[in-house]
């Protein structure tokens, strides 16, 4: 205790032209662009830098070493929804499946029309930037040779029902189908930020400090002049020291939950923390009569985008710990199912929910108020029923919806029809959300947004937000590529301005 108090008083100090808080999709991209144009960048990251061979392969190790609160951070509501966010160099990209989607045109148009973001998402510029990121991150459509049984069965089910499915584009050209994206790609084939843009930024001179949790932006005379924060212990994550960094500009990229908290602690109010949005989802498991072998194949390889219905279906392979937990039964009944662990497939649905929530600091820990609407839950139910139909079409012998209060095991489509005929109880579906948006939204109108189209705070000069927090809406597709593209666009403009100021 005494040692902790003494350590807390230890301070390290540093300075840089630009300090970037967080090294996920947004932060790493900002650092990469600025460092490449000669700006002196310091990246501050709360989590550790884990080289792939050091990353634990078991789920307990993976969750506790790379996910915020070991994956137990949830919304504050009657039916809490786990919110998955990475805390490590690479942020959530260090644990994601590398699915790549460009921003759909209807979303881009809505941002221009309703939020005044025409310059930010200029179509010609966005096309150029997407192409560059796709080249850098080795984006490619998942080949048949690494689809694996789980995704191949999904393709078969989708074809049977005439659904618009396709193999996913992913940032893992040399994927060997190890199905371990969550634990970190063993051969570093998936180009998450920790193995791509962070090292690239460092090669261009950017510096990285890990275990550095930024507490607030240091503001003097209405201008950001640096950040202050805590050094955290690598194991306990408790503060063991303090730091202070002076900088000419500050980029906050701490993710949708923590970016608004940093802004609030820095004295920003108004819309900060509001307009939280997500793509919550759930999954269905099915047993097949012959081995599916989920352990082989891209973690996620096949998708059925149904944007007109408000959802997207995806194959999602699981490590054995998580797959076994999804199988019905207790005791011998459970063990019998677990004994055939190679015979299961799992497909999930992500819903573009209309619900909007709010992140607040809370007296003890951060609170995320968020409650799906009735329409959101109807869409989710429709999506799960459709997955179950695809599974039966693909020849499943048992389907496990995993919906509380409904039969654990379905053996025919007739049983499914009965369940589909009424609305399932709120809270009965185990939701989970990994695509989060909003909380420091961008827009031309300061009364309706936190940052402008250049992603600079409307109120504080030199303070930028560059991550998913600036998204004024969710999108209905996987967000990493769009986050990176929007950040490249803003960071290029910022780099030009910084170069101009340096020359002057």
């Amino acid at each position: 205790m005494l040692a902790e108090l003494v350590a807390r008083r230890k301070v390290w100090e540093d300075q840089a032209h630009t300090v970037v808080v967080g090294t996920g999709a947004g932060g790493a991209t900002a650092a990469r662009v600025l460092a490449a144009s000669g700006v002196d960048v310091l990246m501050l990251e709360e989590g550790p830098r884990l080289r792939t061979p050091e990353r634990p392969r078991d789920v307990i190790g993976a969750l506790s070493s790379t996910l915020r609160d070991a994956g137990t951070q949830t919304t504050t509501s009657a039916h809490p929804i786990p919110l998955l966010q990475g805390v490590a160099v690479g942020g959530s990209t260090a644990v994601n499946s590398g699915i790549i989607w460009r921003m759909p045109e209807d979303v881009r148009e809505a941002w221009v029309r309703e939020h005044g973001l025409a310059t930010l998402v200029d179509p010609a510029e966005m096309d150029r930037i997407y192409a560059r990121i796709e080249e850098d991150l080795e984006v490619e459509v998942t080949g048949d040779e690494v689809l694996g049984g789980n995704a191949t069965l999904m393709r078969y089910g989708a074809e049977k029902l005439g659904l618009p499915g396709r193999a996913m584009s992913r940032n893992a050209r040399r994927c060997k189908g190890r199905s371990e994206c969550l634990q970190g790609c063993p051969g570093e084939r998936r180009q998450s930020m920790d193995v791509s843009y962070v090292p690239a930024a460092m090669a261009d001179g950017a510096r990285l400090r890990t275990h550095a949790r930024v507490d607030r932006v240091w503001i003097e005379g209405g201008r950001a002049v640096g950040v202050k924060g805590f050094v955290v212990d690598p194991h306990s994550r408790r503060p063991v020291g303090r730091f202070r960094v002076r900088a000419k500009q500050v980029i906050v990229s701490a993710g949708v939950v923590h970016t608004p908290l940093i802004l609030m602690r820095s004295g920003l109010r108004g819309l900060v923390g509001r307009r939280f949005q997500a793509h919550p989802g759930a999954a269905v498991v099915a047993r097949f009569p012959e081995p599916v072998r989920m352990s082989f194949g891209a973690t996620q390889g096949y998708e059925v985008p149904m944007r007109d219905r408000g959802f997207k279906l995806e194959s999602l392979s699981l490590p054995p710990e998580m797959l076994a937990a999804r199988l019905p039964g207790v005791g011998r009944a459970w063990q019998e199912r677990v004994a055939h662990l190679d015979c299961y497939a799992q497909w999930c649905a992500q819903v573009r929910m209309e619900a909007k929530g709010r992140v607040v600091a809370g007296p003890l820990w951060p609170l995320v108020f968020y409650e799906p609407t009735e329409r959101d839950l109807d869409r989710l139910q429709e999506a799960l029923v459709l997955i179950a139909r695809m599974m039966f079409a693909a020849g499943a012998v048992e389907v496990y919806l995993g919906v509380d209060g409904l039969p654990e095991v379905l053996r025919s489509e007739r049983e499914l029809d009965e369940l589909a005929s009424f609305r399932w109880k709120r809270g009965a579906i185990h939701l989970i959300a990994s695509h989060l948006f909003g909380t420091a939204v961008a827009g031309a109108d300061p009364a309706r947004s936190v940052v402008g189209p250049d992603l600079q705070s409307h109120r504080i000069d030199g303070l930028y937000v560059m991550d998913a927090s600036v998204f004024p809406t969710n999108m209905g597709v996987n967000p990493q590529h769009s986050i990176m593209a929007v950040v490249v666009r803003a960071a290029e403009q910022l780099a030009r301005r910084s170069a101009g100021r340096r020359a002057a």
């Binding site: 307990i60 191949t152 009569p289 352990s295 082989f296 063990q335």
Partner: protein
């Protein structure tokens, strides 16, 4: 998050209810997915994961251990913890709790099953016996067969 002695006993008894060990008369189908006695340190696995959990989740997990651990008392009116029941009765008790009329009880039972699963498969030897990873070594092409009108047909 350190468990007390009684919590450790209950946790072990609970996990043995979900997956009874081989020695208790349950045949270890699939080459022994049932753990061997003493093979898994459940308390260590629980503490390892939950040491990093949010304060609220830690509270919830502790509540789950207490609620399920003391379930013989409030469901069966038996003056015993779950470790006081023979394994067959533990299985029956957990089945009841998984279908309990209270959603909270059902949720906490499910939560403990997830924990039990993580603890079991976090053990390298049990994971090996599950043969989960063998498919990875075999790679593509995966021959997929599915049931169509009562017959197995090749689909991919």
């Amino acid at each position: 998050m350190r468990l007390t002695k009684i919590e450790r006993r209950w946790l072990r008894a609970l996990y043995e209810g979900f997956a009874p060990p081989a020695e208790r008369g349950y045949t270890a189908d699939g080459e022994g997915l049932a753990p061997k006695p003493g093979e898994v340190d459940h308390a260590a696995a629980f503490e390892r994961l939950n040491g990093h959990a949010s304060p609220l989740a830690q509270l919830g997990l502790r509540a789950a251990v207490w609620l399920l651990g003391s379930a013989p008392l409030w469901t069966r009116r038996r003056l015993a913890g779950i470790d006081g029941l023979p394994v067959e009765e533990r299985v029956a008790l957990l089945e009841d709790l998984a279908r309990h009329r209270s959603a909270l009880v059902r949720e906490l039972t499910w939560l403990m099953k997830v924990q039990a699963s993580m603890s079991l498969f976090g053990n390298a030897e049990i994971r090996r016996r599950s043969r989960y990873d063998e498919g990875r070594e075999e790679g593509m092409p995966v021959r997929l067969k599915a049931l169509r009108r009562g017959k197995l047909v090749e689909v991919a």
